[in-house]
Symmetry: C2
Subunit: 357 residues, 2 copies
């Protein structure tokens, strides 16, 4: 903890209530405000602050205020089949549209075994994992992906063309924690490069390119250049697939034509497209048998020999689940400047920021 | 071309006919033999020799002969919903079971918009792309993934636990070539490490681990150790997801419990599990509109500024499609020792290996 800027801890419940009230004051209906608040605070609980309230709550509120996001969006089903749907989100909050879409995917998968639902004319929906994880209590496997701000270049290119193109897949366990993969298809984040620059550290050469498209270990050159896709052409290929599914198949566009950085371009709507999948486990085997098998795989991996320097092997989503368990008890730590910004935003809306735990 | 060992070229049609006849002589019904032959020779046409006839045809024939693969497998539907199915492949040829499963996925997706079909009790099905690409002429997006030989370790581990866990996604274009991603979730292949060893080259430190689980640039240490997943924990997470879907959800097991290297362990059936997805484009928009939009994305990427040292940007599957176009005219080049091995195998079965073009 930085003594000059001690973090104070706030209960998730208090932050959810504050966030929901802020959305309501901005004109979002209560049920939608609750959905958006729950998903944003969940990111903070899981230690994914980049997608939590400190950054995105003020951004969403600002975009609603200046008319770039519809607080009461009219979400319309554009096409529908037994196992698919395409929703026009009416430029509403990404979280509200994503929640509607994922619920529809879960409902359809329960009937037909699997479903795939796309959304267009949407906005930044926060962390992907929130949506894939909605499938877990239904004994389903959940999938979520989206387009977004353009950051990396294609292999051999030097122009930012697609987004971080993240995907999340959630697979239910029984006694063990569910497997929750949530990853961008970039090798690292812009935030990490900023941090390395601040600390005068060299970058891994696979992380970023300079403005001529050459791999660079200099954070300053990287900030003038681009992020690299994870694993070179493999991350590039995955990103392209997620872009075509999220942006093109939904009738929107790919990240190259979206505003960037996403949600921080106040000249136009973001035009985000996303898609959601669900697979009902009971279409393949009894859910309890499947979940016990997933537990067994997790235990076999946990108990396998460790590499030199490691005393533990983590499963995807395990660190986040442990962080959540801790923060549910100890609260969510927020920097003083974040508290100040949220307090001021609350004051403008007439919503009191909570006191620390 | 190596002058000491000149390659001769053979027509795809002649190799397909030879391969199908070899399978038939081994007891595979004609229709199934044709399916297996077409998929194996397609890999050779696309320049993916590692998954073509030179390696896998003798292996499959050998496994059939010693009773480890059923030439006339009884493929049974174990569970079925409107948009899903689980097939027990009866330990038949992987190509035959995969073809059955992908056709079923395409049929179901045409009716309900999307489908997901799993197979268990199967065998090595060759290159993933052959199965995902079956969706393209139906104006569908195809997906294929599988488990297999255990090669990499989890992040922080040093024991091989899962397979190369490949995935392929095929997305139809109109005038431009369809996007066909086909990638293992390992950073590189064992074949590449063998090649670097032969040529006394150092490895990229992200490719492999030594036997203590430390990254190594020494091919000899890597050969005693393990492959790394692509992009560290991201490739690890993707591999785990593909393993759980292919091996666990289908009622089989994950690669850790399969024989390895797959198909070269002659002590037991391989027990491969795989799964296949299909998304009907017309469930989201008119196929011609979608394919034209895919074309536009491809052109925008092709025409984007190149990084220093590059004069061209390739799309996933583009090199393979160009290779195929060339080899359809010029034939498939085979090493003299491959020709000898296949000729001998043919002689044993009573099938004449074709003459060169």
């Amino acid at each position: 903890m930085d003594i000059a800027d001690p973090k104070k801890a706030y209960s998730a419940e208090a932050l959810r209530s504050f966030t929901a009230s802020a959305f309501e004051k901005a004109g979002v209906p209560p049920e939608d405000a609750a959905m958006a608040a729950a998903s944003l605070v969940e990111a903070d609980l899981r230690g994914v602050e980049t997608h939590g309230i400190s950054h995105y709550l003020p951004l969403h509120i600002k975009r609603i205020k200046i008319g770039l996001v519809e607080p009461r969006a009219n979400i319309v089903v554009k096409r529908e089949r037994l196992s698919t749907a395409l929703l026009d989100g009416g430029n509403g909050l990404g979280q509200v549209i994503a929640g509607r879409a994922m619920n529809l995917a879960i409902e359809k998968a329960a009937r037909t075994g699997t479903a795939f639902v796309g959304i267009t004319n949407s906005n930044h929906f926060g962390a992907c994992a929130y949506w894939s994880m909605m499938a877990l209590p239904h004994n389903q496997i959940g999938i979520a992906m989206t387009n977004g701000s353009k950051l990396p270049a294609p292999g051999g290119g030097r122009q930012a063309m697609w987004g971080t193109a993240p995907i999340s897949v959630a697979i239910p366990g029984d006694q063990e924690r569910s497997v929750v993969l949530d990853m961008a298809t970039t090798a690292t984040t812009k935030g990490r490069i900023l941090l390395y620059d601040k600390r005068h550290l060299r970058l891994d050469p696979t992380w970023a390119l300079d403005s001529a498209g050459r791999p660079t270990t200099d954070p300053k050159e990287a900030l003038k250049g681009l992020l690299q896709p994870v694993g070179g052409y493999k991350g590039y290929g995955l990103a392209l697939v997620f872009e075509l599914l999220s942006g093109i198949l939904t009738g929107g566009d790919w990240s190259y034509h979206l505003g960037g950085p996403l949600a921080e371009d106040f000249s136009r709507p973001t035009g985000v497209g996303s898609c959601f999948g669900a697979i009902a486990v009971d279409a393949f085997m009894e859910p309890i048998d499947f979940k016990r098998q997933v537990d067994r795989v997790i235990r076999e991996i946990h108990e396998s020999p460790k590499a030199e320097g490691y005393d533990r092997i983590y499963m995807p989503g395990e660190m986040e689940a442990e962080c959540k368990a801790k923060r549910q008890v100890e609260g969510i730590p927020l920097d003083a400047d974040v508290v100040m910004r949220l307090t001021n935003m609350g004051n403008e809306l007439g919503v009191l920021f909570p006191t620390e735990m």
